[in-house]
């Protein structure tokens, strides 16, 4: 066994070489997942031809055109089409309120923008607030089941109620209070049920879905339709879209921009 050290070093050297070369070769083999195009969808499923598409949906709220009647109309329109139960009005359960879009005072929506001499219109009139469909959504980061997720295709932050376990991390994560929890069965506080949208069950969180179901049918969001031109929606990634032209022309602000959530809902003041 004179050569044992020499043999050992030789074997060790070949092994290192083999492992190194092998991992390089494995890296060169194309992965199966790389082959599939990004937006083909699952096999045998597709969108309706009339569906509206965008790379990143966004909304501009022109606060100059907002008044209390428009506020009421858009909230009613939204809550009606989405079967949002009225626990406060029907049962007086103030702590169980469910809201997808709602009017709130300027000073509450924009804590950091409020000051002594804010315009009379903003002092008098409430402005609509809703889920901001953030480009960097904290609710999605904290969801343990991925029940809430950002749909990469069009940037919407959506809920998959099937998966929600009701832990409410997302409600703690959302800096805008845009999420509501179902402490009760929604059927307790619904006069009529819209058959083309689901209800929720007790124990799940819900929020605005940017009318994903209406966009898929080629319709504008319900709030935009009911807003008499005060709400404008469109593709934020398309420089030629109405919303981008409006944003290029007028100065608009977002809620709590300093948090870096990159909201997709903008306010013209």
């Amino acid at each position: 066994m004179e050569n044992s050290r020499r043999n050992f070093l030789k074997t060790a050297g070949y092994t290192v070489l083999g492992v190194g070369a092998g991992s390089v070769l494995i890296g060169m083999v194309p992965r199966l997942t790389d082959a599939a195009p990004v937006d083909a969808g699952p096999p045998r499923y597709k969108s309706r031809p009339e569906a509206l598409a965008a790379s990143r949906w966004g909304m501009v709220i022109d606060t100059r055109k907002i008044n209390s009647r428009i506020n009421r109309n858009i909230q009613q329109a939204c809550h009606k089409v989405h079967n949002v139960p009225d626990f406060v009005g029907k049962l007086g359960a103030k702590n169980h309120e469910i809201k997808w879009i709602w009017p709130t005072k300027f000073k509450n929506a924009f804590l950091d923008q409020d000051h002594q001499f804010v315009s009379d219109h903003l002092k008098r009139t409430e402005i609509p607030v809703l889920c901001n469909h953030c480009n960097n959504p904290p609710c999605v980061r904290v969801c343990p089941t991925r029940a809430t997720f950002k749909r990469e295709r069009d940037g919407l932050v959506l809920m998959d109620y099937h998966r929600c376990i009701g832990c409410r991390f997302c409600m703690a994560g959302c800096p805008y209070g845009a999420r509501s929890f179902n402490y009760r069965d929604p059927r307790e506080a619904l006069d009529e049920i819209q058959p083309n949208f689901t209800l929720r069950m007790k124990g799940v969180v819900e929020k605005c879905n940017f009318c994903a179901e209406r966009l898929a049918r080629g319709e504008a969001p319900a709030c935009v339709e009911a807003s008499n031109g005060a709400l404008i929606f469109g593709d934020l990634e398309d420089p030629g879209s109405d919303i981008r032209k409006l944003l290029a022309e007028k100065y608009a602000i977002t809620r709590k921009a300093e948090l870096g959530t990159l909201p997709s809902v903008f306010y013209i003041i």
């Binding site: 969808g41 699952p42 045998r44 499923y45 597709k46 969108s47 309706r48 569906a51 997720f149 749909r151 295709r153 069009d154 959506l158 998959d160 109620y161 099937h162 049920i193 819209q194 058959p195 083309n196 689901t198 209800l199 929720r200 069950m201 994903a212 898929a216």
Partner: protein
């Protein structure tokens, strides 16, 4: 062998008790329920896929629909024959099979499964 009689008697009693569910329920088993089709479903003759496939795999198909619609946003399902359907429990399935009690529940009760579809999804008698 000591106490042969006692041991054998004990074993017999043990096995009789062990088999309790079998002899107690003997003859009590109900036949599998017949599916009742609405006139609309009868006229269509075929569901979106073959009947055998639908009977066996409808839950898997519905799970696929759920993920395709709720997560990916693809709302049209292309069947084996190339026909297109809206992937919706309420709008597509319940449109033909509007008799939930006789079509869905009867079988689900028989096999003792309680799918939670109806916690959130609506069916024809409920909407009005």
């Amino acid at each position: 062998m000591y106490d042969k009689g006692k041991i054998v008697t004990g074993l017999v009693i043990f096995f009789v008790i062990l088999a309790f569910p079998f002899w107690y329920n003997r003859g009590a088993s109900s036949p599998a329920p017949e599916l009742e089709l609405t006139d609309k479903a009868k006229q269509a003759e075929k569901c979106i896929e073959e009947t055998a496939f639908m009977t066996k795999e409808h839950m898997q198909l519905l799970n696929q629909w759920r993920d395709a619609v709720a997560r990916d946003g693809y709302r049209i399902y292309v069947s084996e024959d190339g026909d297109e359907y809206v992937a919706s429990l309420t709008d597509t399935c319940m449109d033909c099979h509007s008799n939930k009690a006789d079509f869905c529940d009867r079988c689900h009760d028989y096999v003792s499964v309680s799918p939670y579809c109806w916690d959130c999804h609506t069916y024809p008698e409920e909407n009005n």
